[in-house]
Each structure stands twice: as C-alpha cells, then as structure tokens.
C-alpha cells in the first residue's frame, strides 16, 4: 500500500512538468502577447514547485511507513560487532531465512518498492513496460532534483528577462553582412524546454527497468541538446550542441551493447522483483545474481560462468535441465557497456570534452542540466546498477574517475571564463563520485552527488548573477572588485566555494562538501590499504582536493576582490533582482547544511539504508592478487586519517590561491610567462580537442571527401550514362510510334471511311426504291433456296 501511495505522489511530481511543457510550448505560442508574457515561467515554476512538495511528501510517507527505520538500523549496524552477521545467516539457511532471521533484518522490512506503471508493448517474451522502483535513493534524488529545479526556474525568470521582447539583438551572433542577429525573444520556449527536461530527469530517476532508463536517458540528452543550442544563431552554440549530442551517442552505443547482453542472458530489464501478496511474480535483475558470503558472485566451479539464481539463491535451470548461466566476461561487458553510457552522460574521460563547450547554453541551463542533474545521472545509474558490477568493472570505474578528476582540475586552474572554471570543476567532482563508487564507497559517491548538486548549482547561479550584473561579461580578467557591488552573490558564492573545497567548521557546522569528499577520500584510502598496488587511487584525489580548493578560491578572488580590471564593466555592474538572489540564498543554506551530521546525519543514513547488500561487509578477493573491496568497518577505521589529509590539502590549496590572487605579493602574469609551456598545455585542455580532431574528425573528413569524390566520379557517371541511354531509346521509340503504330491505326480508320463513303449511295431515301430492294432480295433468296435445296 505504501508503494502505491509513493507511486501516486511521485507520478504527480513526474508528470506535472510534462503537462507544463505542453501548456508552455503550445499556449505560449498562441497566447495574445507571447513575447512579453511571463506566464510560461510561472507555469513552469508552479509545476516543478508542486512537484517538489509531492516529492517531499513522498519522502515523509516513506520515512513514516518505515518508522525511519533505515536511520536506526544503520546506526545499529555501526555499533554491531559483526556487520557480516546477517549476510551469513542469509546464505547459510536460505529456506529458513524467512523464519529465523535476525531481528535487525526483520526490523528493516521492505524499503524498496517496485512495480509496473504501464505496459508499452509485448513482443514475444520481451515486455516493454514503464516501471517504477522507489527506494531511499529515488526519493532523495526526486527531492533534490525538484528543489534545485524550482530554485533555478525562479532564478531563470530574472536571468532570461532579456528575452521578453519582440526583437532580441544577439551581440554574439553575426549575420553575413557583419551585423548582429535580430530575432524574436524566446522566453516561453526556454521554460518549455526546462519543463521537458525536468520531466525526463524525474522519469529517469523513477525508472524501474534499465530500458526505461535508456528511454529517459535519451530524452534528457535531447533536452540538453535543445538547451545548449538555445542561442542557435551562434555558431559556437550550435556546434557545442552537436558535440554534446554526438559524444553522448558514443557512450550510448556501449549502453545498447550492455542492454543486448542483459536481455539475452537474463531475459528481463527490471531492477527489482515484482511482488504480489508476498509472492515474487516477476523476478528482477538484482536478485538474479547471487553473492556468497565473501561478496563474490556465485560462479560455476569449472567454467567460472556466473550462475543465474532465483530470489532465494537457488540456481535457475534451462528447459533442458542445465543451469542458467552467463559467462563471466559477459558480466564484465554488461558492466562496461552500461558504464560507457555513464561516461558519456557524466563527461568522464575520454568523453569529457563536450561539457565545457556545453556552457554555451544559458547559465540556468548550466546550473540545472550540466552540473546538478543530467550529468549526475551517469553517477546515479552507476549507483543504481551497482549490484550487477563485478570487480573488474569497479576498478575501471575507479580509474576513469581518478583520471577525470585530476585532468579536469588541472584545466580548471588556468581557465579564465568563469563558467568554464565551473564546468571543469563539475567534471572533476563527477570524477570524484565515480571514484567513490569504483572503490566501493557506494553511499559516499551518491552522498557527494547530492551535496555537489546543491553547491554546484549554487555556484552556477552565482556566476549567472555575476554575468547578468556585468551585462553578459564572462571573462574573469575583466572582472574584479565586485564584492560590494553584488554582496549577496559574492557571499553565497563564498559558501559554495567553501563547500566544494570541503572546509571544516567547529560546532558541527561543517560545509557539506567536507563530509561527502571525506567519505570518498576515506573509501579511497581504505581501498588503498587493501590493495597497495592501486595507491594512485588515493594520492590523486587527495592532491586534487588541494587543486580544487585552489582553483575555486582563485575564481572567487579573481571575480570579487582586488582592483577592478575593467572600469567599464565595474561601473555598470549591479546586484541582481530578488527573483535571482532568493534562490541563491535558499541554495546556499542547503549547500552548507544538507549534509548536516555527516556520516551519522539523516541524508547519509537515508542513502546507506538502501545500499546494495554486499557493500556493508566488503568483498574478499576471489583470486590470489585479486581486488579486495573494503567494507564499512575498514572505511570507518581510516575516516579520521583521510579527513585530516583532505582538509590539509584543501587549506593549502586555498592558501596558495589567496597568496597568488588575493594579495599582490606574487606577480601572477610573470609566473604565467615563466611557466608558459605548462600553462599553454593546460589552457589548451591537454590538447584533447586537437587530439580528437586529428584522430576522428580529420579521418572522418577524409573519408567523407573520398565518398563525395566517389559519388561524383562513379555513381553520377553511371546515372548520367543511364539517363543518356534512356533518351536515345526514347527517341527511337518516338519514331516507331509515329510511323508504324500511328500509320496502322490511321490505315484502319481511312479504310473504314472509304467503305462508308462507297456504301452511302445506296441510302437514297426513296421509299419505293427500298421496297424494290426488299422484293429483289426476297426473289434472290427464293432463287438461292430453290437452287441450293431443290425439292
């Protein structure tokens, strides 16, 4: 029953933005004064705002239904001497498990609800359905997405107000004759796209099967495309939109391969079991693979294939009686395939280059789509699909995240566009989340997802406020000294900067990033202790924690303190109106306090409440020299140590930033000149764009040029000669037609006419003559008769 109620509220939150989209896109266009009306914006804000209330209500219902037991149980198991205890009983006596379970487990009860919303189609044994899968992660994501989206929609009303005009002059787009592009404002269209995006994003989170995830995955992709290319007249914007879309397709190709393997071997796309009256009627993916008490997948002894089991861990059999199983390497393929999709969506190495270019979109889009929600969907899916990942896949995820976080952080150090700094920071933080998931810090990665969503959307909105106040100036070298020109923006942004740097404050008032980044670094450290060969997975994130603080404070000092570097910009700068500053304050509060309490706070415990079963105990290496994954205890043991290191790194990064950019002790320009080689390398983004240009674009252009030549020289020639031959045949055919066919027909006609002419003389019109003819005819007949039949 709770499942139904939750489904009801979340469905409302999910479908309202879709209704909003329909209203905004159609009625926005047909309304009397569409270019000047703010109605579309308030419609969008209303839809997503009500969505937030529904989500929060669902969260409350879920908590009450489970007596907030997740929180208690999680605390309980922290105190537990042997966290693997319940796991062991589960394996040892499956048949009796229902009766003999330890009270910790039975107290927990059912916290994940899944079922079917709507059946799209049935093709043989393939059922394509819209399902729902609601657990604490879904609810937290729903509440986070709707809350942030509401703030951003509100902010966008102010930010996009330039578009409320019949003739918008786009100073960044030029016509062929060198003038600026003039076009009608697109205020309502912006909000329609935003609503569509919210619908798609919430659908992705609610999705109860991997295929449905894929559908909404593509839908958020298309929304991202539309919003990046919002200023479509700008060549850079339309190129960036194409780039984002195409690079995502590369990842989605892997996603599709993963889906195919899943369908072939498991025959279902569902995550959870469909339970009716305590009976499992439809088994989901997560219960089809079983883990033994070492945390490894149950495998066939000789072949090493992974066995497919029922809900209770009994191996399922095929029709011929053999065990159902999937080769181990295909489990790796599934994991890597799904992860490839996440790499594309979350802009991980090597597909990271699209996200900085995506900053061509309006700033609220960058805040919502390209920092807080859509790009985090990759991390969300990696977390959601976690039970199906094997060790090799997790290691790949960890290293991908590690490379990404370092790469992006170094580029962010030298970026001068305020939004580009934030974009690279986003990539870097997404790398942290992936690393967290890869090193078995499941809850740590998703914890960081939530906190990051708050402080990064906050900082993007602040940068939007700065850009708006400086009349669309984005280059930090032209800013400076804006602190008292726009105090609310500056101080809320400082909150965001401290949060992402992970600063510690006494009396439990730590910034959210302190808790979440610590959790990741602690997981990495525990992983490092368990697998000394992979020490880079700890050192690089630690170093990058320092770099993060450095580039973030660099950005803040660059923008808000020091002497104004461009008098014109400085003089005209102003604080933004209330619709823009109120969301900043709301988000700042959440960015600071959403992780209140840290690892014993509500948010973290909510997330750990529904974490995959084998995470708590950790995983022992399946083979000698294999990978050991640390459990909660191992991570907890090194938490203080990791936290201290991370805080020292962050503080030193911030200090260096202050010395370089906050004071005038060191001449930064001089430093830049001295280190021109390194600076150039970083400023050119490690030459990734050039590399991809040489590796993929140039060959693609070569192949295309060859195809064009081949088309012109060979296909066109064949077609032309065929056309010429047809003309010749037609000419001959015409001669034949005119002379032979027409001649024959004319001959018949003229013969008929001459016969008629010669016969008409008989028709004299004289009655008596006709009588004579009759008489003569009769006589002639008689004559013939008597001569032919005499007697």
């Amino acid at each position: 029953m709770v499942g139904e109620t939750l489904k009801f509220w979340l469905m409302i939150a999910w479908l309202l933005p879709l209704a909003g989209f329909v209203v905004e896109i159609f009625f926005g266009f047909y309304s009397k004064n569409p270019r000047h009306s703010k109605a579309a914006a308030w419609c969008a804000v209303g839809c997503i705002g009500i969505g937030f209330l529904c989500s929060a209500n669902a969260l409350r219902i879920w908590g009450n239904a489970n007596d907030w037991c997740v929180l208690e149980v999680a605390e309980h198991s922290n105190a537990h001497a042997d966290p693997a205890h319940s796991e062991e009983t589960h394996d040892a006596d499956k048949a009796l498990a229902d009766h003999d379970h330890s009270d910790a487990d039975s107290a927990k009860g059912q916290t994940a609800y899944s079922g079917v919303i709507y059946t799209l189609g049935v093709f043989g044994s393939l059922e394509v359905t819209l399902d729902y899968y609601i657990d604490s992660l879904t609810l937290v994501m729903f509440t986070m997405v709707t809350l942030i989206a509401t703030c951003i929609h509100l902010f966008a009303i102010g930010y996009m107000s330039d578009e409320l005009t019949d003739e918008y002059v786009d100073h960044s787009a030029h016509t062929a004759d060198g003038g600026h592009v003039h076009r009608p404002g697109r205020f309502y269209r912006f909000f329609a796209f935003m609503s569509l995006f919210c619908f798609a994003m919430l659908g992705l989170v609610l999705a109860g099967n991997i295929f449905q995830v894929f559908i909404f995955w593509e839908l958020v992709g298309i929304c991202s495309f539309l919003l990046i290319g919002f200023y479509t007249e700008r060549k850079t914007a339309s190129d960036a939109a194409n780039k984002a879309f195409i690079m995502n397709r590369v990842g989605d190709f892997g996603f599709l391969i993963g889906l195919m393997v899943l369908w072939t071997f498991f025959g279902t796309f569902r995550f959870g079991d469909t339970v009716v009256d305590d009976q499992v009627v439809d088994q989901g993916l997560f219960s089809m693979v079983h883990r033994d008490n070492t945390g490894n997948l149950t495998r066939e002894e000789f072949t090493g294939d992974v066995l497919i089991t029922d809900t209770h861990g009994h191996v399922l059999t095929n029709e011929d009686g053999s065990n159902r199983q999937i080769p181990y390497y295909l489990m790796v393929v599934v994991g890597l395939g799904i992860f490839a999709g996440c790499v594309g969506k979350s802009a991980q190495f090597p597909l990271q280059t699209w996200l900085p270019d995506a900053m061509e979109g309006p700033t609220p889009v960058s805040a919502l789509v390209h920092s807080a929600t859509m790009v985090a969907a990759g991390v969300y899916l990696a977390g959601r699909f976690f039970p199906m990942f094997v060790q090799e896949v997790l290691l790949t995820i960890a290293y991908t995240g590690c490379i990404t976080l370092f790469l992006a952080a170094t580029i962010a150090m030298v970026a001068t566009d305020i939004k580009k700094v934030l974009a690279y920071s986003t990539i870097s933080q997404l790398g942290y989340m992936m690393l967290g998931i890869g090193v078995f810090g499941w809850a740590a990665g998703l914890f960081h997802l939530i906190t990051h969503a708050f402080f990064k959307s906050l900082m993007f909105l602040c940068s939007g406020s700065v850009i708006y106040g400086c009349h669309h100036e984005q280059e930090m070298p032209k800013m400076g000294g804006l602190l008292w020109k726009m105090p609310i923006t500056a101080f809320t942004m400082l909150v965001g900067v401290c949060a992402i740097s992970g600063f510690w404050v006494p009396f439990g008032l730590e910034f959210s990033g302190y808790h979440s980044k610590d959790a990741i670094v602690a997981s990495a450290l525990a992983f490092n202790y368990a697998n000394p060969a992979h020490f880079l997975l700890f050192l690089i994130p630690l170093l990058t924690a320092g770099i993060t603080a450095f580039y973030m404070f660099r950005m803040w000092f660059y923008t808000f303190v020091g002497k104004p570097r461009d008098q014109h910009v400085h003089e005209h700068a102003h604080e933004s109106p209330w619709v823009m500053t109120v969301p900043l304050v709301i988000l700042a509060v959440f960015a600071w306090f959403c992780a209140y309490g840290g690892e014993s706070g509500r948010l973290y415990l909510m997330l750990t409440g529904d974490e995959p079963a084998h995470v708590a105990a950790g995983v022992t290496a399946a083979t000698a020299g294999g990978i050991v994954l640390p459990g909660h205890d191992a991570i907890h043991a090194v938490h203080g140590q990791a936290g201290t290191w991370a805080l020292i790194a962050a503080l030193s990064g911030a200090l260096i930033a202050y010395v370089l950019y906050g004071t005038s002790v060191v001449n930064v320009e001089e430093m830049k000149r001295q280190l021109a080689g390194v600076h150039g390398f970083l400023a050119n983004k490690w030459h990734f764009d050039e590399l991809y240009d040489a590796l993929f674009m140039k060959p693609a252009h070569k192949v295309a040029a060859f195809c064009a030549w081949f088309d012109g020289a060979v296909f066109d020639r064949i077609l032309h000669s065929a056309a010429k031959a047809t003309v010749i045949v037609s000419k001959w055919d015409r001669v034949f037609d005119e002379n032979v066919v027409d001649g024959f027909v004319n001959l018949i006609a003229s013969a008929t006419q001459s016969v008629g002419t010669s016969l008409k003389v008989v028709q004299t019109g004289r009655l008596r003559q006709y009588v004579m003819f009759i008489v003569l005819g009769v006589v002639a007949l008689f004559a013939v008769m008597f001569t032919t039949f005499p007697g």
Binding site: L759, K760, V761, V762, Q763, T764, G765, R766, L767, R768, V771, M772, V775
Partner: protein
C-alpha cells in the same frame, strides 16, 4: 373441281405480287400502306392453306390471326406517321420524304 393446295398458294402469290407492285409503284403513302396490307394478307392465305392441307393443324390459322392483329397495329402506327408527315409537308408523297438520304 375440288381446289387443292397449289390453287390457294397461287392466289396468295397473286395477292403478294399485287401488294409488292402497289408498294413499289404508288407515290401516295396511303397506297403504299394498302400494298402492305395486300402482302400481309397474301401471307395469311398461305398460312391458312398450309393449315388445311398439311400437318400444321390449327397453328397456321392462329398465326394468321396474329398477323391480322399486327397488321391492324401497324396500320394505326403508319397512319399516325402519315398524318404527321402531312402536317409537315402538306403532302403524302413518299418521294418527298428523302431526308435520310445518305
């Protein structure tokens, strides 16, 4: 002398020939019609004669009755045509009615 079949047929033939000559020579439409009646009645005489002298039985007589009825109908139609013809041409000379000449 008892009349035999050939004497009836002879009379029929005479009537027929008279009718034909009448039709062929008369320019008066009424005259032509009378010729037609003669031809038909020549045929009637033949029917009746065959009815009496051969195995034809009553059939020949019934046929001749039909012919009489048809002749009456034909005469009515033909007279109507003649009247119309007269209305249009103020004459009943069939040689004047050569509009259908080819």
């Amino acid at each position: 002398m008892q009349p035999d079949l050939s004497s009836y047929l002879f009379i029929g033939a005479v009537l027929f020939v008279c009718g034909v000559i009448c039709m062929a020579t008369k320019r008066n439409a009424i005259g032509v019609l009378m010729g037609v009646e003669l031809v038909l009645n020549g045929a009637n005489v033949n029917f009746v004669a065959f009815s009496k002298y051969t195995a034809l039985g009553l059939d020949g007589q019934v046929f001749s009755l039909f012919v009489i009825v048809l002749a009456a109908a034909e005469a009515a139609v033909a007279l109507a045509i003649v009247l119309n013809f007269y209305n249009n041409h103020l004459t009943v000379d069939v040689d004047r009615g050569n509009k259908l000449k080819g």
